[in-house]
Symmetry: C3
Subunit: 343 residues, 3 copies
């Protein structure tokens, strides 16, 4: 049994990553091919020609179809053969490669790896800030050689910023702020409210005014594997509250972890914001900075994965700071059991 | 059980590859040492000193023998100890390393990896163009990280030239010519006859005259793992036929796949020809060109092997173009069953 | 069952390698962290944070403790938690990482990987020349990708010098000298006495006088994994004997093999000498030369290990020269059985 849910939507890639040229990416252990048809609709199919298994991603696009690079079998976007290697041979329409439901939402292309009959787009996690009016959103794709749940743990506890990101975004005040964790249905919320502090440089610049601020970090885990982090500051006098805090500068960090294998995943990171939305330079600087911050995480996460493998007798422990990650893993485990029961 | 036949001759190397210096090469899963005695007779033995298993190929030749680089045990060409590490110690003649029957024919050195009592040189595949009067023959050795049978499939269906070798030797006419496949005893023949076409540049140059030609490609698979491809053109007026076609320019592509492991093999490629036989420049250009053509195949074959491994639930399919490869694999499977029965 | 003894002292590193900065080194299959406290006492603990298993060696030293780089859990030199990731959380003193007995002797830091209750420093192998008055000792640490017992075999039979070190320290006379092997308790002695020969250049320089010499090589294996080689020359007229030979220039080569895995080990090499003890240039030249000599051994040993793995049907043989190694392996096997009985 795998460590990930099957009957769920996963991010396959950014809308801009999936284009007319074939893209090969392994999703939940399955080598996949992605591309867009001429009408820009995305297509996902198994990345293996039904003839001799050469990856179709090595082939050439022809109209809405793909032609295998080895013997020229032509496969349509529905996965069915359209032309045999020997052009004079009648097409056997029973020849096909598995295709998968895809959907496009919130700047991502999503794939459903389980039972296609259940693939309701309404089940796509609601990453609203990625496509809300008045907000702008951008980010990047990273590969991490660790279990996707280690990244969830990482994101659901921002304590690590103090140590892992000591040289970049870490701030000791974070350690002193009380954390509140709660489960709401299929979500876990971890909140930190830092009232009346001095804004760190990033947020001071975003806010564009002096004076003490209220700062917040609210991590939300959403099944199967998303973490949205609501971050920002508001002037103390604006009266922001944990429930309502649109008075200042607000960002939403969007993280989606799509398993590649049991020990690796694709990490989709982005930041949505409701300030300086037309400042392309801000967006570029933010993405460059994230590259450096993520490099610090990657070193830690991949070392942790290797240590888990070289210390088979040892188990991960959980302390108070880990409550968010623990609750998120519990939601995954509960949903896995539900899938198993339903199967 | 292995995927290859045991009681058969396999190519160990080109006559020029096996020389007085030790050559290490793994054949059918067994690390082997090859060299020639002073009288030029080739020798094959297990590449592991019977003393402490250091590869003998790291040792030094002394006369017809080899001395291990670790403690100096001296092994004769019959595999038996000739001198102990401590020179004063009496030689224990029961110390020996397994040796294997070898034979030299058709410009290759052959090795018999099975029961030595059955190693009849008359069983060496008849690659006659490699050593026929009026013909010249040369080629090279390549390493391919795929099951040797994937290369047989590749060679028994030249349809792939259109796609894999689109930029080099591919020609669309090949797709339009009818194929005829037949099994004759331990051989499979796949023939393509292209009457009255315009000769491609390579063959026009070889033929040295203008006008329409008959062109042919006749692939012959021979157990355990050879493919000879009879290729050439003759002026239409010469009246060449599939059975008799020595009227023009004719070549024989010689391919021998010697398994190294279940997922890799040594590929011996050469071309014999009955034209321009004294033109060393032609030979050199032909070998250089083949390097480029083979690089195109290698990318495909190794990607195919990896895809087979990462898609354990999928199976190779066979269409009409694959009949030659299917029949060749059937001959191998039938011979494997016969070997198993006899064992 | 492992191939090494558990209730024994192994060299963890040179006294100079283990310092205030964290050192990660896998000992007998266990990833370990080593460092020294402010009072210079060495500490050894499992190199995995009890919280989320990140290697503690990636952390930062604070006083006598180490703080994990991920979430800041602070671990004392006794392996117990001293501060939680969330500083306001009360320390749970049951959180701990396994620690191991260490001792410092003969210029090495030693670690006991088995039952700590049995870790008596009196059991540390008596490598007396490393710390004896009138002697000087220095050397280096090497990594070898082979079973530690292959290195013991190598050292207990110096015949290999003639072949492996033909270009450096090999000398044909070694082959002609008779060997005497005997077991004494937990030790194996292999002696070579070469009376009245011409001293090789190294020893001529050390002796600082002309004339024929008696030369000796006496290898001693000590459990669990040490080899001391008593080497030197004395003028013939000095009347040196196998039992008493301090009349000339004498060195003791010290070798300790600490298993890393079943197929790799840490090789600690040094040479103690009772001549030119204040000549730092001599020490530096000796260490540089050993780098070159060891490189010759490493090529052989790692090729031997690979050959053992690729020839699973073949077994190591033993001839007369191997008696020392055979006896050493017998001592290890007997002690392993004793450990098993006691368990």
């Amino acid at each position: 049994m795998s460590s990930w849910l099957t009957n769920r939507w996963y991010v396959a890639g950014w809308d801009s990553e999936i284009d007319s040229a074939p893209l090969a990416r392994t999703i939940c252990g399955v080598p996949m091919l992605f591309y867009r048809k001429l009408d820009r609709t995305p297509v996902a199919m198994r990345d293996a020609c039904p003839h001799r298994l050469l990856p179709l991603s090595m082939g050439l696009r022809e109209g809405d179809s793909i032609r295998c690079k080895y013997h020229g079998l032509k496969i349509g976007p529905d996965g069915r053969a359209e032309e045999m290697p020997l052009r004079t041979e009648a097409v056997n329409r029973s020849i096909c490669v598995p295709t998968y439901p895809v959907a496009e939402r919130h700047r991502f292309v999503w794939i459903w790896i389980g039972n296609a009959a259940l693939a309701d787009p309404a089940l796509i996690p609601d990453l609203w800030p990625c496509s809300a009016p008045g907000w702008t959103f951008d980010g990047g794709t990273y590969h991490v050689a660790c279990d996707y749940r280690l990244m969830i743990d990482n994101l659901m506890d921002l304590t690590h910023e103090t140590y892992v990101h000591a040289g970049s975004i870490g701030q000791p005040e974070i350690l002193d702020a009380p954390i509140e964790t709660r489960v709401e249905g299929d979500e876990v919320h971890v909140s930190r409210w830092m009232p009346g502090i001095d804004a760190p440089p990033f947020w001071r610049t975003a806010l564009k005014q002096p004076g003490p601020v209220d700062r917040w970090q609210i991590c939300r885990f959403l099944l199967p594997s998303a973490v949205m982090i609501d971050v920002g500051v508001a002037p103390v006098e604006a009266g922001a509250t944990p429930d309502r805090h649109d008075q200042g500068a607000r960002g939403m960090v969007i993280d989606f972890m799509t398993p590649e294998s049991e020990t690796s995943h694709h990490y989709f990171w982005g930041m949505a914001r409701n300030f300086d939305v037309n400042d392309a330079g801000f967006t570029a600087r933010m993405k460059r900075q994230q590259g450096g911050v993520f490099a610090e995480d990657k070193v830690i996460l991949e070392a942790q994965q290797r240590s888990i493998e070289t210390n088979p007798g040892l188990r991960l422990s959980a302390y108070r700071i880990d409550e968010g990650g623990v609750r998120a893993r519990q939601l995954i485990a509960r949903a896995l059991r539900a899938e198993e029961m339903a199967a």
